[in-house]
């Protein structure tokens, strides 16, 4: 085909317009879901957690999390005497297979499930150099896998250690609060599989959500409040030793 200069000048803008349309192809997932009507968070009731590891396994199944990496995990704390500054913490395989009974006796012992805190003032999104991680209008911190360079800034910035680099994809990964589920009206995989209701998804913009009553009537904490991240994972019955 003979392309003259004139023809090329006509073709180039046409190609540009066509390419724009290809890039703009938005997959429509949940047509009835409105971003501005929700503000997601989670309630974790430490007094109910039995350390069964259901949440860790469910998360791995739901989100194809590779072995040895965790979007959520459970820690077991053991405190003895006055040692609350130095708790003994273990989390074998992220608590995925539960915790061995052990022969510990005495002291204070409890489980703490952890996940991304979906901070409003999230340090991880602030350090991303390419706009690959962001807080959505409905309050979930997500990662755009197509934009992430795998530079690891966010992994270092997260004060809660919630991010990792996927060993095959070489991009950052973390809990999405099961965004693909909550936008379809389902709860997260970890909440769905928690047998004791220790984890509960909360929509802070929904006036009917029981979270409001719970926040009013219980003594609620967040992890590392001194980091001023405005975390949206609320803990009930959290011990002062938990970091």
């Amino acid at each position: 085909m003979n392309i003259t200069r004139r023809r090329l000048l006509v073709l180039l803008p046409a190609a540009a317009i066509a390419w724009k349309h290809i890039l703009a192809g938005t997959p429509e997932a949940s047509p009835n879901y409105k971003l501005t009507e929700h503000w997601w968070g989670m309630l974790v009731d430490v007094t109910k957690c039995i350390g069964c590891g259901n949440c860790v396994r469910a998360c791995q199944t739901e989100n194809d999390v590779p072995d040895g990496y965790y979007r959520t995990w459970v820690e077991r704390y053991h405190l003895e005497g006055w040692a609350f500054q130095n708790p003994k913490v273990d989390s074998p395989d992220g608590g995925k297979n539960g915790f061995p009974p052990g022969n510990q006796s005495g002291g204070k012992n409890f489980f703490v499930p952890k996940l991304c805190n979906h901070c409003v003032e999230s340090p991880c999104t602030q350090v991303c150099p390419v706009g690959a991680t962001f807080v959505t209008p409905d309050g979930v911190v997500l990662i755009d896998q197509k934009y992430c360079l795998g530079c690891r800034y966010c992994v270092q910035a997260c004060p809660y250690g919630c991010r990792f680099i996927h060993p095959q994809k070489e991009t950052a990964e973390k809990c999405t609060l099961c965004y693909h589920r909550i936008t379809k009206g389902l709860t997260t995989a970890c909440c769905e599989s928690c047998p004791t209701g220790a984890r509960q998804l909360a929509d802070l913009k929904d006036p009917k959500d029981p979270i409001h009553e719970f926040l009013r009537t219980h003594s609620i904490q967040v992890l590392k409040p001194y980091m001023a991240t405005n975390s949206k994972v609320f803990y009930n019955g959290l011990d002062g030793s938990v970091r």
Binding site: A16, W19, K20, L23, A24, T26, P27, E28, A29, S30, Y33, L35, T47, K48, C49, I50, G51, C52, G53, N54, A58, T61, E62, Y77, H78, G98, F99, P101, G102, Q104, S105, N109, F110, F111, G131, A132, T133, F134, V135, T136, P137, L142, D144, K146, Y147, T176, Y179, H180, R181, T183, K184, L186, T187, A189, E192, S193, C194, P195, T196, G197
Partner: protein
């Protein structure tokens, strides 16, 4: 004049390149690609959710509501079954092993909340399967196979 032309051409080239390289949805909600939200939301689910299970298995729901496992969701024990919900005929859930499954929650552990029912399996049942005495969906004593 020539410098101005070079500058103009450079600016046009930059704008053209930017038009090509920056997706249209970038900046729609903030400094990120707006389409990424819909792409993440489009992922298929693995856990169907208890509401889906209950549409067919209302008999189990009725049984469960009478007992202590009323608030335990189906997939907490049965695992992710969205595929079964989509195609109940050809995708059948695996049979569960009561001994492994019950112990996962009810095996005694000092870190578990004191009010949570816990047993040392060897002492409690002497190795007998839990579902001999307890019906898993409504686990009151003597609800199991041995009646």
């Amino acid at each position: 004049m020539r410098l101005a032309a070079v500058f103009l051409v450079g600016t046009l080239l930059f704008l053209l390149a930017r038009g090509f390289l920056v997706p249209r949805s970038f900046g729609q909600y903030g400094h990120y690609r707006g389409n990424a939200i819909a792409e993440i939301a489009a992922r298929p689910v693995a856990f169907a959710g208890h509401q889906t299970c209950e549409t067919c298995h209302s008999d189990v729901l009725e049984l469960k509501q009478k007992g202590r496992h009323a608030r335990v969701n189906c997939e907490a024990c049965h695992g992710a079954l969205a595929k079964h919900a989509e195609d109940p005929v050809s995708v059948k859930p695996a049979k569960l092993q009561a001994a492994v499954l019950c112990a996962r929650c009810h095996e005694a552990n000092i870190a578990k909340p004191k009010q949570f029912p816990q047993v040392v399996p060897a002492e409690h049942s002497g190795g007998a399967a839990c579902d001999m005495c307890h019906q898993p969906h409504s686990p009151a004593l003597d609800s199991g196979k041995r009646k």
